[in-house]
Structures are given as C-alpha cells and as structure tokens.
Amino acid sequence: MLLAGEDLAEALTRERSARLAAEAACRKKEEFIAAFSHELGTPLASAIVAATLIERLSPTDPRAVTARHVLGRQLDQARRLVEDLLDLERVTTGTLELAAERVEVAQLARDSVAAIIVPTHEIRIEASPAWVVGDPHRLRQIIGNLITNAIKHTPAGGHLRLRVFHDDGAVVLRVDDTGRGMPADLVRRVLDALAQGEAPGGQPSRLGLGLSVVRILVELHGGRVEALSEGLGRGSSFIVRLPAAPTL
C-alpha cells in the first residue's frame, strides 16, 4: 500500500517517536544496570577485604572480630539488594502477592530493628501500639529498607529515630536520620528506582532500589510514602502512612 504525502510524514513521525522512546528506555536500562552493578559491587568489595583480614589475622585478634561483623553486614546488604531487585521484577510481572493479616506495627518495628546489628549508630524507637492489615514479611522489609537506607547515608556516630503512631485514621511509620540529607531535586526522585544522589568521580552513589521497593510495597498495602529533607547535611525523613486496621 502506498502512503500519501501527509500519511507518510505522520508515519515517519510516529516511527521516529517510537525509536526515540525505545532508545530512551534502552539508555535507562543501561543506566540502571550500571548503577545496580556499582551498588552491588560496594558491599562485595567490603566483604572481600573483610574476608581477607579474617583469613590473615588470628581468630582472637579484635580486628578479625570486627572484620567478621563487617563481613556479615556487607553480605546481608548484598543479599538485600538482590532481593529488592527480584521484588521489583515480581511487581513488574504481577507475581508479588501479599499474605495479609492483622499486624501490630510497633512490635514489628522493634523486632525489625533488633535484627539489624549496628554498633556505629544509635537507633531510638518511639512506638505506640498500632494495628494494620498487611503482610508481616513485607512490612518488616519496609522497615528494614528504611533503616538500612538511613544507616547507609548517616555517618558513623549519627542518630536514627523510628516512630510509630496514629494520625488521622492512618498508622504512621516515620524514620528520621541525622545523615547527609538530600538536595530538593533528589527528594522528589529518591523513591524511584533510578534515583541517584551525589556521584563522586561520575559513579552512581545512591540507587533508590530499596526505597523504590518501599514505595511499591507501601502502595500495595494501600498506603503512601513521602521523603523529606531540608537539604544536604541536614538529615532525611521518610514517612509511611498505612490505613489503620478496623477496630475489632
């Protein structure tokens, strides 16, 4: 079939738009792979050095003991990243399912924090009993990702605060840190999978994978999440609002 002049021009425009969109998607995917590789590479690099120290030092040497803790934490960090990536894939393919039940969030928050060993930071918990309907495993993942994100972006010696409270029919889960904070443009993007902050030497340093998983899981629970920061060096806050469970 031959196309008339105007039809041909329109077809060419459509084809060009489609090509540009495909190229942009491809670039985004490449950027994501580069960022993810870097993000996964950093805990693995730490784990390699820690493992070598453990191998070369006497088992009773305090440095070897510290290295063992570092190794455990960094491997756990790598595991979380892979898990987050798989969760994003499950969301894309629609295979992520919630096993919902009544969950007491304050206790869940205390248990989640207790499972994270961080001698470098003080984590304060202020939680009053609050019930939601949700998947306890995924809710623990939300809390864990928010806390590890705060630790990651808060220099050693910094403070974290986790609060659970009721507000206007919702259960609020809020994590505040005294860390590096974010510029306004990053605050807007930080819950997206490709968000990056300061990029030393052109390398991505802040892949919002864990935070993207938080956003998706919170939305699957019918809630919403918000990021706040007054700027670089002024700490960050992440506020999750989940619908409160009906009173029994």
């Binding site: 730490s46 050095v49 470098t120 990651k152 030393p200």
Partner: protein
C-alpha cells in the same frame, strides 16, 4: 607553584631529627625546589651545614630559591656551610657494574661530612637525588643506594632528605615503587599536597566500598592491618595495606583517588 598550606608533614621535611631518612614524593618540579630550599634554609638558619647532591639544574634552582628566601648562598658556600655537589659526578665515584659499591660510596660521601665538621658544623643536613637519577634506569641500584645511605645515617646521626618524582596514586608507581621506597626510609611524604591527598583517598574509599558506616570501620582496619616502621600519612598506609590485602581493590581505590586528586581532592 608552592605548597598550598603548611601541614604536619612539612615538619618532617623542614626539621628532621638526626639520623632520620625522609623521602618526599612529588609531581610538580617546582614543589621539589620549594621543599628542598626550605629544608636547606631551616638548616642554615639553625647554624647547621647543608650538603646538597643534585643535578646541575636543581643545584642552580635551589640556590636561586634559597636566595629568594633570604639566604646569602655565596657567603654560606665560602665558609663551608653550604656545599652543593653534582649527582652524576658523585655516582661515577662509587658505581661499579651498574651497582653502588659500599666502600667507594662511603669514601665519596664521608669526606664532605668531615670537611663540614672541621669548619665547625656538628649538625649537617643532607639532600641527595642520586637515587632519583638512578631510579628510572636502575631501580634496584637506587634501592641499594638507599640502603647504603641508611647505614651511613646510622653511623653519622645526620638527617637526609631524598625525593622521587613519582605519583603514589599511579597504578604501577604506587603499587610497586612506593612500597620499596617506603621500606627504606624513616618518613614518607607522599604528595605535593597532603590534605588533598588524604581527601582524595577518603573519597575514593567511599566510592569503591560504598558510602556506608562500615567503610569507615574497614578503612581503619586497613590502616592498622600491618603497622609500618616508616612514618607516613594514614591515607598512604591504607593504600599500601590495601594493596597487600587485595591488589585489584587497591588499584580501584588508587584510580578513583587519582581522579579526585586531579579534581582538587
């Protein structure tokens, strides 16, 4: 270009204790002139003798810089307080088959110390760049000469400043030359700008190991992994130890640090 600001590492090159064997690494030849001139000037001001063994170009540059710093170089030379010798001629006196000969080395250097002492100078500062003349063509011979210097300093109890135009953040120079040189000195000053060097290494560490609280812990573990007998900035000790733990990661940190250093730290 002069050093941007004085650092604790300037003390090592300006006021070394008797017997100390200090090495300054540099990229910018102007920095070398600046460091050596200040080393000499401090000695002259304190009434010490200074013996320079350097290339012709450097001898002239040191004298010019010293004059600019207020020293009367011709007077100091006349009274035997300032002696500058040609590095190539000195080397020719003790090199046999491409390697320094201990006896000839001692015979070539100690008379100059004796002359200075006879002129009334008990404390004598030495600056030598024969090792840097040898380094590009015969690194093993340069390291052997460093060992001979070390022996001589122990006997004579006088300080010596050496300098190498090498980059501790270069992959090969940093990984191969720096450890060998560090081993043969009491103090190592790794760069033109110590605070910038420290900042660059710290940022590189964050890049390779992540902006994570554990990175600080890991950096401290690397620093303490193998205590060095050579006094050096913590950032340099971290690089040397990281190379021993994992060369690939040592290279990665060094490459990132080099980029940060070039960008200003």
């Amino acid at each position: 270009m002069s050093k941007i600001a004085p650092t604790p590492w300037d003390e090592a090159t300006e006021n070394p204790a008797p017997g100390e064997h200090v090495v300054q690494m540099y990229r910018d030849p102007e920095l070398l002139i600046d460091v050596v001139a200040r080393y000499c000037q401090q000695g002259l001001v304190k009434g010490e003798a200074v013996i320079i063994i350097a290339t012709r170009e450097h001898r002239a540059a040191f004298a010019r810089k010293l004059t600019a710093l207020g020293a009367d170089v011709p007077s100091c030379t006349r009274r035997g307080q300032y002696v500058d010798l040609d590095a190539h001629q000195c080397l020719a006196e003790f090199m046999i088959d491409g390697a320094p000969d201990r006896e000839r080395f001692v015979a070539a250097v100690t008379p100059h110390l004796d002359i200075a002492r006879r002129a009334g100078y008990e404390r004598i500062r030495l600056y030598g760049e024969m090792v840097e003349v040898l380094r590009p063509i015969a690194f093993a011979a340069a390291m052997r000469l460093e060992e001979l210097w070390h022996e001589l300093l122990e006997r004579e109890a006088q300080p010596l400043l050496c300098a190498y135009q090498i980059d501790p953040l270069d992959r090969l120079e940093g990984r191969i030359l720096v450890p060998a040189i560090a081993q043969r000195h009491s103090h190592l000053v790794p760069g033109d700008d110590a605070p910038r060097f420290a900042r660059a290494v710290e940022r590189a560490f964050l890049e390779v190991f992540g902006a994570d609280a554990d990175t600080t812990v890991l950096r401290q573990l690397c620093e303490r992994y193998r205590p060095h007998t050579t006094t050096m900035p913590p950032a340099q000790a971290v690089l040397l130890n990281l190379d021993e733990l994992n060369r690939y990661l040592g290279d990665a940190v060094r490459a990132a640090a080099a980029a940060y250093y070039r960008a200003g730290g």
